[in-house]
Amino acid sequence: MTGAESGLVRARLLADLDEAARSIAPLWPLSTAIAVNPLWDLRHLPFHEAVRHAQQVLGISGYPSPALFAQAYATGRVSVEDLRAALDHDRDAGCQDAYAGHEPEPGTRRWQTAAERRDEVSGSQLAANIDREMAKWCAAYLAGIVPMGPTEGFYAAWRKVVVFDPSARSLARRAGRKRLAELGADPEDAILTCLDLLSISDQDRIPELARHLARTPGWAGHAKWRSRWAAPDQPGPSLHLVDYLAVRLCYEAVLLVNATVPSALAMGHTAKRRRVLPAPRARRAEGATYVLDDGNRTRAEDSVGVELPDDLKRHLGGLSATALAKVWLAAYEGHFRDRLFAALDRPALKAGPSPQAQVVFCIDVRSEGLRRHLEGCGPYETLGFAGFFALPIRFGPWWSDEAMDLCPVLLRPSARVPERPVTSTGRAASRELEGRQAVAAAQRAFNSTRKGALSQFVLAEAGGIVAGPIAVAKTLAPFWYQAARRRAHQVIAPAAATGVDAEPSASTMSDDEQALFAEAALTTMGLTRGFAPLVMLCGHGSTTENNPHASSLDCGACGGNRGGPSARAAAAILNRQATRALLAERGITIPATTWFVAAEHDTATDIVTMLDVHLVPDDHAERAATLQSALHRAGAATAVERASRLPGTESRRRVTAPAGRAADWAQVRPEWGLARNAAFIVAPRSVSAGVNLDSRCFLHSYDATTDPEGVALETILTAPMVVAHWINAQYYFSTVDPDILSAGDKTAHNIVAGVGVVQGTGGDLRVGLPLQSLYDGDRAYHEPMRLLVVVEAPQAVLEAVIARNPVLQHLFDGHWVQLAARENGHDNWKIRRAGGTWVRRVPAGARTEENAVRG
């Protein structure tokens, strides 16, 4: 092959590899773990088709189990009317074929790698052996155990050491082990050589590679994150997709190339001797599931198994298991939708007196309860906005060179805003810095001792004298231990007063850029007039102990970090006179008497801490103190409400209360996080004020009357709504497919190289959410439903926004997300069907004829 031909082939391979990687989701490192729709890169397909694709590639079910639906029916969570409405809905939409006896296309089957095809024929365990080797090498590489050059990738590093690996010799014998490292100097060449050896044709390449990635969605997901999402300057070992596949295919080629039945390796080979495909990877956590049968159709291992009226029996009885699941899911979602609209359809609240303060919370569902209780505590107005407050920044504490990206992962930070000690605290700042440096030096010494070949044994012996009592204290007296640790830290490195320096001379944002972001934030949240004397920007974070998934409880809009720094930076910018002068030129006048203050809501304890209090002017101090007091009462009421939903709180022991859970290092469920999230409401607060939404709704403030072109609406739907959909889809798939798409049981987690967790001693990195975030014992606490988006805006504006954004067309037309809207409070809610048809919402049981309205 000439050089030019080789270039063509390699380029085509890279494009195919990227296409193959659509079947898996990127997996962020633990420190910035965020929720992501596991099927996001299949969103160009309608939801049900994407699920079907994932059934073939990943082996998932994609739908709630029959047991979950049966339980929902038994408890009235799904009614006969809901099921009838679900069937009617699709008749009305003209898609009866989606349900009526629809079966997968003939000839389709679960995708397999060459090793899986061999295992199927011979009963061997080659694929599992390759998975095990991959997990071992990936972990060793990322943990820095494999020696590597500064720019050396995973494949090159592995190739140098695999020839000494005893388990490679055991698997492939001595000659095979040597051969592993001889299949190509670079990963692309190795992949091409291996595909050739395995007789994989160009047409079969994408499914073959996709299945390779899908066998270990954790490690492959980490590689996808690194290759497609991480910043180019992201530090740490680089495990890229091409390296990952090269190593995997080398094993497969070497272990299979001397096969006695060569035809069994080729794609499309049908096993003759073994009739049924291998069983799904592991048992589901709850009830029966839908699996592929030997005809490659989806079937139920167990029907929903409830007694239904004759008409429903007649309609549902002829459906395939997948079609049945679709109907039940639609009914399950419809039931929630009806209850939500019943709650929202109430007389509009009269406007109260001018607010003493406006508090802007993150759209996170956990803010809803706190907002409701705060509004009940006095003349306070609350708003909802993405918790990064429109500031995509890189931020680091003043005493550290390390920085974090505070923005949704859909963005790259565009500026750096520093923290600085306030000038009057020079000596205090020096003392804190010295204390922190001492602590950091001690930690470095501890870590290097821990990793030393011999010193780790000495450390284990000597350290036990200290570690033992600490463990006892953490277990028996977590509050005391937490307080003692805090006091010790305060003695060693007493915190100096600091502030965020937004001056252009210190930050990388000019006055104009700051004004632009301020304008975007205020117009998108609908706060362009009527400013209260005090405006609080309240981010959120979650304080938990011994929790590898802690960042998944922090703010997703801040890239899985705590939201306090974003609130501080936004408040600093909005308090600058230069920003306000430019905003006034743009038509937004912030009174000189208005002060912006930052705060952070701890969602594990429901304590709200006001930040940078020392910067609050004297004439606002009393108002700020009053607000702090109201937030204290609101937080306490929210904690009581939340405690009623947490299991184990009935014991009334302090350690099982919300604050106790946050301090307890043995607590596997410090909070429910965003479990039971179900809807995203984009409307003025008056639409939902006073309604107990049970912390199930993302609330984004929006005033359509100030946004005739839909510019702010476009921003909300293309960013915060997408993030909310990711969260919703992550919870959905982790709940319905816990074996493959959840992180499993927390109690058996081990952290690997800081990038993820494995179950037990090794294996694939676990993706998704831990079972304790989804299930209460065997019962699903999260209700798996697709996100319902509720917007108060004219349909014409909505349709214009959708028409110019393919991502919205995919989500709404593809049934990933359901959209409901009304123009104003005098209008009826309408539901959007695929393609832009709107129908008046009619609750189940009251359905006569829906009035179709062209959007």
Binding site: A11, L14, A15, D18, W229, C407, E714, T718, P720, A803
Partner: protein, 108 residues
């Protein structure tokens, strides 16, 4: 082209793709040996999917990006093949043209 200008002929490839496909496109540039490229994010225009307004404030992944790369003609074939394969399943536009540069060593 006037020879007195002392310019060197190269191939210029421009692609307009979704922000989320930029990483794989730049991988292909690197594979083809390109020494650099230019990216303009959030571009607007009219295509077969309608108007793109280029005003997605907080979503760079779904905004359109214009990538421009210049490389010697003998290396362009591999890149074209990779981009063509990529665009089989993705939306986007690819434009190829001759161009001339004054400092060819920057592109080889």
């Amino acid at each position: 082209m006037d020879e007195t200008w002392e310019l060197t002929q190269m191939t210029r490839i421009e692609v307009v793709i979704s922000g989320e496909d930029v990483a794989v496109a730049t991988d292909l540039f690197a594979e083809a040996g390109a020494r650099g490229f230019t990216a303009v994010s959030n571009v607007s225009g009219l295509g077969h999917r309608g108007h793109h307004q280029g005003r997605l404030l907080f979503n760079q992944r779904d905004a359109l990006t214009l990538l421009t790369v210049v490389l010697p003609a003998d290396r362009a074939g591999a890149l074209l093949e990779g981009l063509r394969s990529l665009l089989v399943n993705r939306s986007g536009v690819m434009l190829v043209s001759d161009t001339w540069v004054s400092r060819p060593e920057y592109f080889r």
